[in-house]
């Protein structure tokens, strides 16, 4: 069966690498390097992350993009041929919402693919809910899901929501 290509994108620190790490059945191929400017963490993705998982017999290739805009030339390359997009945004960092909106508009205008917005950090006490983020983006509530990127279960549920949007059908598979 031909693997599905899904892209995970979003601003710096949204949890893209963590999300792929939670889902992947193989060691994630990371391209992390030490940061050259203050972005709130020590290392950041400079090219891509790659992970692989199988869901109900369907192989899924996960490609994570770098979050910094200086690497936006990589976004186009990675989204090429993707069947769907997961845009992650940290729910406790509303200052990144405009950047997330810019990334979403940039990618979907050049590559119209189904997408779902994942609001991470839902385990924190003070965080935007998926419904509030949906209102901010002007999206239907069913297109925005909350998740904890460190939790495989939570990440998988978000992935399933993405697949439902791609296939247009309710996911019947067993996880």
């Amino acid at each position: 069966m031909k693997p599905l290509k899904l892209v995970v994108s979003g601003p710096v620190g949204a949890g893209k690498t963590t999300f792929i790490g939670s889902l992947s059945e193989i060691p994630v191929v990371e391209t992390d390097e030490l940061v050259s400017e203050d972005i709130g963490k020590e290392r950041t993705t400079v090219a891509l992350d790659f992970g692989l998982l199988t869901l109900d017999g369907v192989p899924i290739h996960l490609f994570g993009t770098p979050g910094q805009e200086r690497f936006d030339f990589v976004w186009d390359i990675l989204v090429e041929g993707a069947l769907g997009l997961v845009l992650l945004v940290a729910g406790d960092s509303p200052k990144d919402f405009p950047k997330a909106r810019h990334i979403l508009e940039y990618l979907t205008s050049r590559h119209p693919v189904p997408f779902v917005v994942g609001v991470t950090r839902q385990d924190l006490p003070r965080v935007w809910t998926p419904e509030d983020v949906a209102d901010y983006f002007g999206l239907p509530h069913e297109q925005v899901v909350g998740l904890n990127a460190t939790s495989p279960t939570s990440s998988t549920l978000a992935l399933i929501r993405m697949l439902e949007l791609v296939t247009g059908e309710k996911w019947q598979g067993v996880y």
């Binding site: 509303p94 200052k95 919402f97 405009p98 003070r126 965080v127 935007w128 809910t129 509030d132 209102d135 901010y136």
Partner: protein, 205 residues
């Protein structure tokens, strides 16, 4: 769970548009140059009341405050959903219409900004018994005691609920639309200070 952030990343117009028909209290605080914050009570997409610190604002003050908040580019906000407590007179302003009005006024203000007079310009009421249509009448009733004395920006009373820039804009706007006679206002240009040399009669080299 609450909606929170900074006006720097999410200006009030965007925030208000996002809140739509929600009910709750929107608090805006940490504003540069302001000691106290503001609270707006929203119910089903309508503004019920506006508070500055612990003080409930009257409609005119609330209107000006919202216009000021509309322009802010720095300050924290937090929206707490729920049924807001009833306080004083209910304003009942629809949020969407308010947004449209504030945007229009802001556009107008930006257009008149180059025409705003020198801060030393005085606007003084030349006639006190006038008849004006709303909303000018409400403005006139409120501003008359202040305009009788012909204050300048420097002596404009603080805490009047009437920011100087807003009053000057309204007065300038009236002038632009040739409503001076109806407003009963005269505009006295700023007096320039004569240099000590010229006042002493000495001629320039």
């Amino acid at each position: 769970m609450a909606v929170f952030g900074n006006l720097r990343d999410m200006p009030l117009p965007d925030l208000v548009a996002m809140l739509g028909r929600r009910s709750g209290v929107l608090e805006v605080f940490g504003l540069p140059g302001k000691r106290s914050g503001y609270a707006l009570a929203l119910d089903g997409g309508k503004v019920l009341w506006v508070r500055e610190g612990n003080r409930l604002l009257d409609p005119v003050e609330a209107r000006f405050t919202l216009q000021e908040l509309f322009r802010l580019q720095e300050g924290a906000f937090e929206f707490t959903p729920g049924v807001p407590p009833a306080e004083g007179m209910v304003l009942g302003w629809p949020l969407e219409r308010l947004l449209l009005t504030l945007t229009t006024v802001e556009d107008e203000f930006q257009a008149y900004r180059p025409l705003l007079p020198d801060p030393k310009t005085r606007f003084q009421a030349a006639a006190l018994e006038v008849w004006l249509e709303e909303p000018l009448w409400s403005f006139w009733e409120r501003a008359r005691p202040l305009l009788q004395g012909g204050p300048r920006r420097k002596s404009w009373p603080t805490g009047s609920g009437f920011p100087w820039t807003r009053c000057a804009t309204t007065c300038t706007s009236c002038a632009w639309r040739a409503r001076w006679p109806r407003c009963g206002l005269t505009r006295k240009p700023a007096r320039t200070r004569r240099s000590k040399a010229s006042s002493a009669g000495s001629s320039p080299p």
